[in-house]
Protein backbone atom coordinates (compact mmCIF):
# COMPACT_ATOMS: atom_id res chain seq x y z
CA UNK A 1 0.00 0.00 0.00
CA UNK A 2 1.15 3.51 -0.72
CA UNK A 3 0.29 6.92 0.61
CA UNK A 4 0.16 10.14 -1.36
CA UNK A 5 0.20 13.52 0.34
CA UNK A 6 -0.67 16.60 -1.71
CA UNK A 7 0.73 19.66 -0.03
CA UNK A 8 0.69 23.38 -0.59
CA UNK A 9 0.64 26.53 1.52
CA UNK A 10 -2.84 25.70 2.76
CA UNK A 11 -4.05 22.13 2.78
CA UNK A 12 -7.62 22.94 1.78
CA UNK A 13 -7.26 24.81 -1.50
CA UNK A 14 -5.30 23.46 -4.50
CA UNK A 15 -3.91 20.53 -2.51
CA UNK A 16 -7.41 19.43 -1.57
CA UNK A 17 -8.66 19.93 -5.13
CA UNK A 18 -5.85 17.69 -6.41
CA UNK A 19 -6.61 15.09 -3.78
CA UNK A 20 -10.32 15.20 -4.61
CA UNK A 21 -9.56 14.71 -8.30
CA UNK A 22 -7.27 11.80 -7.46
CA UNK A 23 -9.84 10.02 -5.31
CA UNK A 24 -12.63 10.63 -7.81
CA UNK A 25 -14.59 12.96 -5.53
CA UNK A 26 -14.33 15.61 -8.23
CA UNK A 27 -14.94 14.74 -11.89
CA UNK A 28 -11.95 14.94 -14.19
CA UNK A 29 -13.86 16.27 -17.17
CA UNK A 30 -16.02 19.09 -15.77
CA UNK A 31 -16.55 21.34 -12.78
CA UNK A 32 -18.08 19.71 -9.72
CA UNK A 33 -21.59 20.80 -8.68
CA UNK A 34 -21.91 24.01 -6.67
CA UNK A 35 -22.75 22.10 -3.48
CA UNK A 36 -19.32 20.46 -3.59
CA UNK A 37 -17.63 23.80 -4.19
CA UNK A 38 -19.40 25.27 -1.14
CA UNK A 39 -18.41 22.17 0.80
CA UNK A 40 -14.76 22.84 0.00
CA UNK A 41 -15.26 26.46 1.04
CA UNK A 42 -16.64 25.18 4.34
CA UNK A 43 -13.58 22.96 4.66
CA UNK A 44 -11.37 26.02 4.18
CA UNK A 45 -13.29 27.92 6.85
CA UNK A 46 -13.03 25.10 9.36
CA UNK A 47 -9.64 23.58 8.66
CA UNK A 48 -7.72 26.05 6.49
CA UNK A 49 -5.69 27.30 9.45
CA UNK A 50 -4.85 23.79 10.64
CA UNK A 51 -1.65 23.65 8.73
CA UNK A 52 0.65 20.84 9.76
CA UNK A 53 -2.19 18.35 10.19
CA UNK A 54 -2.80 15.71 7.56
CA UNK A 55 -6.34 15.70 6.16
CA UNK A 56 -7.49 12.31 4.91
CA UNK A 57 -9.33 12.63 1.61
CA UNK A 58 -9.97 9.05 0.59
CA UNK A 59 -8.58 6.13 -1.38
CA UNK A 60 -8.07 5.70 -5.08
CA UNK A 61 -8.74 2.55 -7.10
CA UNK A 62 -5.40 1.06 -6.11
CA UNK A 63 -6.23 1.55 -2.42
CA UNK A 64 -3.66 4.29 -2.15
CA UNK A 65 -4.49 6.56 0.77
CA UNK A 66 -4.71 10.19 -0.29
CA UNK A 67 -4.06 13.03 2.14
CA UNK A 68 -3.60 16.77 1.97
CA UNK A 69 -1.31 18.89 4.09
CA UNK A 70 -0.89 22.61 4.57
CA UNK A 71 2.77 23.52 4.95
CA UNK A 72 2.71 27.31 4.65
CA UNK A 73 6.09 28.33 3.20
CA UNK A 74 7.91 25.31 4.64
CA UNK A 75 6.96 22.52 2.28
CA UNK A 76 10.52 21.38 1.63
CA UNK A 77 11.37 21.13 5.32
CA UNK A 78 8.21 19.19 6.13
CA UNK A 79 8.77 16.83 3.20
CA UNK A 80 12.23 16.04 4.57
CA UNK A 81 10.90 15.58 8.10
CA UNK A 82 8.15 13.19 7.01
CA UNK A 83 10.36 11.16 4.71
CA UNK A 84 13.05 10.71 7.33
CA UNK A 85 10.55 9.94 10.08
CA UNK A 86 9.16 7.30 7.77
CA UNK A 87 12.63 5.73 7.49
CA UNK A 88 13.38 6.05 11.20
CA UNK A 89 10.15 4.35 12.22
CA UNK A 90 10.51 1.79 9.41
CA UNK A 91 7.15 2.55 7.87
CA UNK A 92 6.96 -0.03 5.12
CA UNK A 93 4.43 1.76 2.95
CA UNK A 94 5.89 4.24 0.49
CA UNK A 95 4.88 7.85 0.84
CA UNK A 96 4.88 10.24 -2.08
CA UNK A 97 4.72 13.94 -1.29
CA UNK A 98 3.34 15.93 -4.22
CA UNK A 99 3.49 19.70 -4.29
CA UNK A 100 0.46 21.67 -5.44
CA UNK A 101 1.98 25.00 -4.38
CA UNK A 102 2.11 26.44 -7.87
CA UNK A 103 -1.62 25.81 -8.30
CA UNK A 104 -2.77 27.83 -5.28
CA UNK A 105 -2.10 31.33 -6.51
CA UNK A 106 -2.38 34.41 -4.31
CA UNK A 107 -6.11 34.51 -3.66
CA UNK A 108 -6.15 31.84 -0.91
CA UNK A 109 -3.91 34.08 1.20
CA UNK A 110 -6.53 36.83 1.05
CA UNK A 111 -9.35 34.33 1.49
CA UNK A 112 -7.81 32.93 4.64
CA UNK A 113 -7.53 36.41 6.09
CA UNK A 114 -11.17 37.13 5.20
CA UNK A 115 -12.48 33.72 6.13
CA UNK A 116 -13.11 34.75 9.70
CA UNK A 117 -16.22 36.28 8.19
CA UNK A 118 -18.33 33.78 6.27
CA UNK A 119 -20.38 35.96 3.98
CA UNK A 120 -21.44 36.22 0.37
CA UNK A 121 -18.29 38.20 -0.53
CA UNK A 122 -15.88 35.48 0.68
CA UNK A 123 -18.03 32.85 -1.03
CA UNK A 124 -17.90 34.80 -4.25
CA UNK A 125 -14.13 35.15 -4.00
CA UNK A 126 -13.76 31.46 -3.27
CA UNK A 127 -15.92 30.49 -6.23
CA UNK A 128 -13.89 32.79 -8.46
CA UNK A 129 -10.67 31.21 -7.22
CA UNK A 130 -12.09 27.71 -7.71
CA UNK A 131 -13.23 28.38 -11.26
CA UNK A 132 -9.77 29.73 -12.15
CA UNK A 133 -7.72 27.03 -10.44
CA UNK A 134 -9.83 23.97 -11.27
CA UNK A 135 -8.83 23.76 -14.96
CA UNK A 136 -5.17 24.05 -13.94
CA UNK A 137 -5.62 21.28 -11.38
CA UNK A 138 -7.45 19.12 -13.93
CA UNK A 139 -4.74 19.71 -16.50
CA UNK A 140 -1.95 18.97 -14.05
CA UNK A 141 -3.65 15.84 -12.79
CA UNK A 142 -4.46 14.51 -16.24
CA UNK A 143 -1.01 15.14 -17.62
CA UNK A 144 0.61 13.85 -14.46
CA UNK A 145 3.33 16.48 -14.61
CA UNK A 146 5.44 15.89 -11.55
CA UNK A 147 8.31 17.70 -9.98
CA UNK A 148 9.21 18.48 -6.40
CA UNK A 149 12.25 19.87 -4.64
CA UNK A 150 13.21 16.60 -2.94
CA UNK A 151 13.24 14.58 -6.12
CA UNK A 152 9.79 13.17 -5.44
CA UNK A 153 7.04 14.06 -7.71
CA UNK A 154 4.87 17.15 -7.72
CA UNK A 155 3.08 19.38 -10.13
CA UNK A 156 4.77 22.08 -12.19
Amino acid sequence: MMRIIYYSHWGTYAAYTMAALHTGLYPEDRLPPDDWIWAQHELCLRYGEQTGNLIYTGMDEQFTEIYTLGCRRHGEMIVRAIQHISDIFEVHETVHMISAESLDGMLPVLLQKLNSRDNSFTKMLFKDWFYRSYPKCQHAFQNGKLCNPEGNQGFS
Binding site: R3, H74, E76, M77, A81, F89
Partner: protein, 164 residues
Protein backbone atom coordinates in the same frame (compact mmCIF):
# COMPACT_ATOMS: atom_id res chain seq x y z
CA UNK B 1 12.38 4.38 21.72
CA UNK B 2 13.31 7.62 20.04
CA UNK B 3 13.97 11.03 21.51
CA UNK B 4 14.44 14.13 19.41
CA UNK B 5 16.07 17.30 20.65
CA UNK B 6 14.60 20.14 18.58
CA UNK B 7 15.93 23.58 17.94
CA UNK B 8 15.96 26.23 15.23
CA UNK B 9 18.83 25.23 12.99
CA UNK B 10 19.74 21.73 14.17
CA UNK B 11 23.33 22.91 14.61
CA UNK B 12 23.96 24.29 18.08
CA UNK B 13 21.53 23.93 20.97
CA UNK B 14 20.02 20.59 20.02
CA UNK B 15 23.48 19.20 19.27
CA UNK B 16 24.74 20.45 22.64
CA UNK B 17 21.81 18.85 24.52
CA UNK B 18 22.17 15.57 22.66
CA UNK B 19 25.91 15.57 23.29
CA UNK B 20 25.45 16.13 27.02
CA UNK B 21 22.84 13.37 27.04
CA UNK B 22 25.18 10.92 25.35
CA UNK B 23 28.31 11.92 27.25
CA UNK B 24 30.13 13.61 24.38
CA UNK B 25 30.16 16.75 26.53
CA UNK B 26 30.66 16.79 30.31
CA UNK B 27 27.69 16.97 32.66
CA UNK B 28 29.61 18.24 35.68
CA UNK B 29 31.41 21.32 34.35
CA UNK B 30 31.41 23.80 31.49
CA UNK B 31 33.48 22.33 28.64
CA UNK B 32 36.31 24.22 27.01
CA UNK B 33 35.88 25.66 23.54
CA UNK B 34 38.20 22.98 22.15
CA UNK B 35 35.92 20.19 23.42
CA UNK B 36 33.19 21.39 21.09
CA UNK B 37 35.43 20.55 18.14
CA UNK B 38 34.99 16.88 19.03
CA UNK B 39 31.19 17.09 19.14
CA UNK B 40 29.64 15.39 16.11
CA UNK B 41 27.50 17.62 13.91
CA UNK B 42 28.18 20.82 15.87
CA UNK B 43 27.58 23.76 13.52
CA UNK B 44 27.32 21.44 10.53
CA UNK B 45 23.64 21.51 9.52
CA UNK B 46 23.04 23.19 6.17
CA UNK B 47 20.01 25.42 5.82
CA UNK B 48 18.71 23.46 2.86
CA UNK B 49 18.67 20.28 4.97
CA UNK B 50 16.55 21.64 7.79
CA UNK B 51 13.88 19.20 8.89
CA UNK B 52 16.25 16.23 8.51
CA UNK B 53 16.62 14.32 11.79
CA UNK B 54 20.20 13.30 12.55
CA UNK B 55 21.02 10.25 14.67
CA UNK B 56 23.45 11.14 17.46
CA UNK B 57 23.66 7.88 19.36
CA UNK B 58 21.94 5.57 21.81
CA UNK B 59 21.94 6.31 25.52
CA UNK B 60 22.35 3.92 28.45
CA UNK B 61 18.57 3.46 28.75
CA UNK B 62 18.31 2.37 25.12
CA UNK B 63 16.82 5.58 23.74
CA UNK B 64 17.92 6.58 20.25
CA UNK B 65 18.84 10.25 20.44
CA UNK B 66 18.27 12.46 17.40
CA UNK B 67 18.54 16.15 16.68
CA UNK B 68 16.30 18.08 14.34
CA UNK B 69 16.16 21.71 13.26
CA UNK B 70 12.71 23.14 12.64
CA UNK B 71 13.30 26.88 12.25
CA UNK B 72 10.57 28.72 14.16
CA UNK B 73 7.76 26.47 12.90
CA UNK B 74 7.83 23.54 15.26
CA UNK B 75 4.05 24.07 15.60
CA UNK B 76 3.90 23.00 11.94
CA UNK B 77 6.59 20.32 11.72
CA UNK B 78 5.72 18.41 14.89
CA UNK B 79 2.00 18.01 14.04
CA UNK B 80 2.99 16.97 10.51
CA UNK B 81 5.29 14.22 11.84
CA UNK B 82 2.82 13.08 14.50
CA UNK B 83 -0.21 13.08 12.22
CA UNK B 84 1.76 11.15 9.61
CA UNK B 85 2.76 8.50 12.16
CA UNK B 86 -0.83 8.42 13.33
CA UNK B 87 -2.01 7.83 9.75
CA UNK B 88 0.49 4.97 9.51
CA UNK B 89 -0.89 3.42 12.69
CA UNK B 90 2.47 3.73 14.49
CA UNK B 91 2.59 3.62 18.26
CA UNK B 92 3.94 6.98 19.38
CA UNK B 93 4.32 6.26 23.08
CA UNK B 94 8.08 5.97 22.60
CA UNK B 95 8.42 9.01 20.35
CA UNK B 96 9.47 12.02 22.41
CA UNK B 97 10.39 15.53 21.36
CA UNK B 98 12.28 17.94 23.60
CA UNK B 99 12.55 21.65 22.93
CA UNK B 100 16.23 22.46 23.26
CA UNK B 101 15.69 26.19 22.76
CA UNK B 102 16.37 27.24 26.32
CA UNK B 103 16.96 30.89 27.10
CA UNK B 104 19.84 31.55 24.76
CA UNK B 105 22.48 34.20 24.96
CA UNK B 106 21.75 36.60 22.08
CA UNK B 107 25.29 36.12 20.81
CA UNK B 108 24.51 32.44 20.19
CA UNK B 109 21.46 33.29 18.11
CA UNK B 110 23.17 36.01 16.09
CA UNK B 111 26.33 34.05 15.46
CA UNK B 112 24.31 30.95 14.65
CA UNK B 113 22.60 32.85 11.86
CA UNK B 114 25.99 34.17 10.76
CA UNK B 115 27.48 30.71 10.32
CA UNK B 116 24.49 28.78 8.99
CA UNK B 117 22.80 31.38 6.88
CA UNK B 118 25.67 33.58 5.77
CA UNK B 119 28.50 31.06 5.92
CA UNK B 120 30.63 33.20 8.26
CA UNK B 121 32.28 30.26 10.00
CA UNK B 122 34.81 32.62 11.54
CA UNK B 123 33.99 34.47 13.81
CA UNK B 124 30.50 32.89 13.86
CA UNK B 125 31.40 29.43 15.15
CA UNK B 126 33.66 30.57 18.02
CA UNK B 127 30.99 33.04 19.07
CA UNK B 128 28.30 30.34 19.13
CA UNK B 129 30.57 28.25 21.36
CA UNK B 130 31.12 31.26 23.61
CA UNK B 131 27.37 31.80 23.88
CA UNK B 132 26.61 28.12 24.48
CA UNK B 133 29.25 27.97 27.24
CA UNK B 134 27.64 31.02 28.87
CA UNK B 135 24.27 29.22 29.08
CA UNK B 136 25.68 25.71 29.58
CA UNK B 137 24.13 25.28 33.06
CA UNK B 138 20.68 25.66 31.47
CA UNK B 139 21.43 22.85 29.01
CA UNK B 140 22.70 20.69 31.87
CA UNK B 141 19.49 21.29 33.82
CA UNK B 142 17.34 20.46 30.77
CA UNK B 143 19.16 17.23 29.98
CA UNK B 144 19.16 16.22 33.66
CA UNK B 145 15.37 16.69 33.72
CA UNK B 146 14.97 14.69 30.52
CA UNK B 147 17.09 11.83 31.81
CA UNK B 148 15.27 11.74 35.14
CA UNK B 149 11.95 11.59 33.32
CA UNK B 150 13.18 8.80 31.08
CA UNK B 151 14.41 6.91 34.13
CA UNK B 152 11.08 7.29 35.93
CA UNK B 153 9.28 6.29 32.76
CA UNK B 154 11.41 3.19 32.44
CA UNK B 155 10.84 2.25 36.08
CA UNK B 156 7.07 2.73 35.68
CA UNK B 157 6.92 0.55 32.59
CA UNK B 158 9.02 -2.15 34.28
CA UNK B 159 6.76 -2.06 37.35
CA UNK B 160 3.61 -2.15 35.25
CA UNK B 161 5.01 -5.11 33.35
CA UNK B 162 5.83 -6.93 36.61
CA UNK B 163 2.25 -6.56 37.77
CA UNK B 164 0.72 -7.68 34.48
Amino acid sequence: MKLFYCCYGGAHTSVTCASIHLGYLPDDRVPSAAEFAGVPFYDKMDNHKLGTPVFMGRDALGWDIYIIGMKNVKTLVIPAMKSYLNACGMDQSDFLLVNALVELHPITSISGVATRKFGLIYPGRPLTIWGIRKTYPKFLALVKDVKENLQVRGNYIRTATDFS
